[in-house]
C-alpha cells in the first residue's frame, strides 16, 4: 500500500518539501511520515501540518490536491515512484537520479533541473527551464527522461549534457540553448533562438521554425535514430504519428559559434501536411 498525502490546507507561501521522496519514507507509518520536517517560508514545519497522510511507505508516494506551492518534490530521489494527482510547484525532481515521477496536472518552473536519471512525466503543461541548469550553472540534465504532454516555457534543456526531453506541445524561446549533448523533441512549435550556443546534441521539431543565422542547412533525410526515439515516445503516450516517424527531416547544423556539431531536425513541410 502506498503512502497517500492529501492536501488539507494549502500553503500560502512556498513549502520546501524535498523530503517528499519515496526512499525517505520506506517502512514508515503514516504517523511517522506526518512528523517529517519541511520548511514553510522561513519557518520549520511538519508534513502533517499540511497533509492528511494514509498508508505506509512502500516505495510509492501519492500526492492528492493542489501542490502548486509545494517545491522540490522528489528532489535527489534515487528510486521509487511519485504520483501527483494535481498541479505541482517548482523544482520537481531536481537532481534526481532514479525512479519515476508522474504529474497528472501542470508543473511549475525548473522541472527536473540538473537531473541525472529516472523519468518525469507531466501530463499537463510545464513552466520555464525544464531540464535545465540552475542559474549560474553550466550543465543541465545529465541523464534520464522528461516527458511533458503539454507546452513548456522558455529555456528548456539549457546546458543539457545527456538524456531525453520530449514536449507534446509547443516550446518557448531558447530551447536547447548551450546544449552539450542529448536530445530534445518538440512535437509542436519551437520558439525563437532554439539551439543558441549548442555544442552538440539534437533538437527535433515536427513544425517549421525560424532558426538563428548561425545554423546551416545540411540535407533532408530520414534519420534512423529518430525512428527509435519517436517510437519510444509513442509508447510513452505522446501523439507521435506515422508521418512523424516515416517523414524526412531537414538537418540544420549549428551553432556555428560553437563548431556546428549540434543539429536541429525539422520535419519536411510536405510530411508535416500529411501528418
Amino acid at each position: 500500500m502506498s503512502l497517500t498525502l492529501t492536501m488539507r490546507s494549502a500553503p500560502e507561501v512556498p513549502l520546501e518539501a524535498e523530503v517528499l521522496s519515496p526512499e525517505r519514507f520506506e517502512g514508515m507509518s503514516a504517523a511517522q511520515a506526518a512528523e517529517a520536517a519541511v520548511l514553510y517560508g522561513n519557518r520549520r514545519a511538519q508534513l502533517g501540518d499540511f497533509f492528511s497522510i494514509e498508508g505506509k511507505g512502500d516505495g510509492e508516494l501519492r500526492l492528492v490536491g493542489d501542490c502548486t506551492r509545494v517545491k522540490r518534490i522528489g528532489a535527489a530521489m534515487t528510486r521509487g515512484r511519485i504520483v501527483i494527482e494535481g498541479d505541482v510547484g517548482m523544482h520537481l525532481g531536481a537532481g534526481m537520479s532514479g525512479g519515476t515521477i508522474t504529474v497528472q496536472g501542470d508543473a511549475a518552473d525548473s522541472v527536473g533541473h540538473e537531473m541525472l536519471g529516472g523519468q518525469i512525466v507531466v501530463k499537463g503543461n510545464a513552466g520555464h527551464l525544464v531540464g535545465s541548469t540552475i542559474r549560474g550553472g553550466r550543465v543541465g540534465i545529465r541523464g534520464g527522461e522528461i516527458i511533458v504532454h503539454g507546452n513548456v516555457g522558455n529555456e528548456t534543456g539549457t546546458g543539457m549534457r545527456r538524456g531525453l526531453i520530449a514536449v507534446g506541445g509547443n516550446a518557448g524561446d531558447f530551447t536547447g540553448a548551450n546544449m552539450l549533448a542529448g536530445t530534445i523533441v518538440v512535437l509542436g512549435q519551437l520558439g525563437w533562438r532554439s539551439g543558441a550556443g549548442m555544442k552538440r546534441g539534437s533538437i527535433v521539431s515536427t513544425q517549421p521554425a525560424e532558426l538563428l543565422p548561425t545554423f546551416r542547412y545540411a540535407c533532408t533525410y530520414r534519420p534512423v535514430m529518430l525512428r527509435l526515439v519517436l517510437a519510444h515516445l509513442r509508447e510513452q503516450g505522446l501523439p507521435v504519428t506515422d508521418a512523424h516517424v516515416l517523414g524526412r527531416y531537414r538537418r540544420w547544423s549549428g551553432d556555428a559559434v560553437e563548431d556546428s556539431r549540434g543539429e536541429i531536425l525539422l520535419l519536411e513541410q510536405s510530411e508535416r501536411a500529411a501528418a
Binding site: 541523464g143 538524456g163 539534437s202 533525410y221 534519420p223
Partner: protein, 300 residues
C-alpha cells in the same frame, strides 16, 4: 531404431561449448536487409577455417524490429566471448555498415546475456570525429555519417554461452534422394528459433575428422563416411548400399534448440532412398555435449 523405415544409428552427436550473439540488421527494404545479412554470414561455415560460424536465423517483419523497418536476425558463434566481439566488429564493419540504408542492433535478450562486447563503440571511429552517440532507454547507439545518410549501430552487443557442432549424417543409396532428404531436413530445422545451419544452404558434404597424416593439417576428410574409400579405409562406417553421405551442422543459442532442430531434421530426412541416419562424434572425448539420436526420438 527405425524411423519411417529408415535406420537410426544408436550413436550421438558430439557438440561443443561456444559463445553466441544475435544481431538484428534492418534496412529500408527486405532486399537490403537480406543483402547485408548474406554478406555478414558469408565465409562463416566453420570456426576451423573462418574463425566463426554464422547464419541467418530468420526474417523479421518490420513491426518487430527496433526501428520499424524490415529486418533479418543473424546468429554468430565463436569459441570465446572475446572472439565473438572481434568477429562482430569485422563483419558488422565490413558487411553491414557498408550496405546501403542498414542499421544494426543487439538482439539478445538481457536475461540470457552473460556478457557484452563493444561493437558500435569501435566502429564509431570510422566517423572520424563526426560520429554522434545517442542514449535511449539505457541503450547507447552510434550514428556514423555515411554517404547515404547515417549508419546506426548499437554500442554493445550481448554474448551468451551457446552450443556448436550439433550434427546429423544422412546416409543414402544415391546422390539425388540423399540430397532431397537433406534439403527437407534443412527446411524443417530452420523453423526452430535460436539455431543456424552454417554451411551452404545448411548442408556440408566434406565432413571432417580431427587431424591428418600431414602434421600441419588440423582437420582432414572424414574417410569413415566417404563412399569412395569404403574399400581402402579401415575406418569405414558405410554399408555397401550407401553411396552418398551428407551432413547438417547445427549451432544454437541453447541445447534444447539444437536438440529440437535435430529431432525435426531426423523426422524430415527419414524418407525413401535414405538408408541410415547417424551423427558425427569423436568418441565423446572432445565435446562437452553428447546428443543421443535414440534419446531424441524417444523424448529422453
Amino acid at each position: 531404431m527405425l524411423l519411417n523405415g529408415v535406420a537410426v544409428e544408436d550413436t550421438f552427436a558430439e557438440a561443443f561449448a561456444m559463445w553466441g550473439a544475435r544481431v538484428m540488421i534492418t534496412a529500408e527494404n527486405d532486399k537490403w536487409a537480406m543483402a547485408a545479412a548474406r554478406a555478414m554470414t558469408g565465409f562463416a561455415t566453420s570456426v576451423i577455417g573462418c574463425k566463426c560460424e554464422a547464419g541467418i536465423e530468420r526474417i523479421v517483419p518490420a513491426g518487430q524490429t527496433p526501428d520499424g523497418r524490415p529486418g533479418v536476425s543473424v546468429l554468430l558463434f565463436a569459441t570465446s566471448a572475446e572472439s565473438v566481439g572481434k568477429r562482430l566488429v569485422e563483419r558488422v564493419g565490413q558487411c553491414v555498415m557498408t550496405c546501403p540504408t542498414t542499421a544494426c542492433y543487439n538482439a539478445l535478450p538481457a536475461e540470457t546475456t552473460a556478457t557484452t562486447v563493444v561493437v558500435g563503440g569501435l566502429l564509431r571511429y570510422f566517423g572520424d570525429g563526426f560520429q554522434a552517440a545517442k542514449l535511449l532507454d539505457g541503450r547507447r547507439f552510434w550514428r556514423v555519417p555515411a554517404m547515404d545518410g547515417e549508419f546506426l549501430v548499437e554500442e554493445r552487443f550481448g554474448v551468451q554461452p551457446a552450443i556448436g557442432g550439433g550434427n546429423l549424417l544422412i546416409l543414402g543409396e544415391d546422390s539425388a534422394p540423399t540430397l532431397a532428404a537433406t534439403e527437407a531436413a534443412v527446411e524443417a530445422m530452420r523453423a526452430v528459433p535460436g539455431v543456424i545451419l552454417p554451411f551452404p544452404d545448411g548442408v556440408v558434404r566434406c565432413g571432417s575428422k580431427v587431424g591428418s597424416r600431414y602434421k600441419t593439417v588440423i582437420a582432414s576428410t572424414n574417410d569413415a563416411y566417404c563412399p569412395t574409400l569404403r574399400a581402402v579405409s579401415s575406418a569405414t562406417r558405410l554399408g555397401e548400399d550407401v553411396n552418398c553421405v551428407l551432413e547438417i551442422v547445427i549451432d544454437g543459442l541453447d541445447l534444447s534448440s539444437v536438440e529440437e532442430a535435430m529431432r525435426r531434421g531426423m523426422k524430415a530426412a527419414a524418407r525413401p532412398g535414405v538408408r541410415q541416419i547417424s551423427a558425427g562424434n569423436y568418441g565423446g572425448n572432445l565435446g562437452q555435449y553428447k546428443i543421443g539420436l535414440h534419446g531424441l526420438m524417444n523424448g529422453t
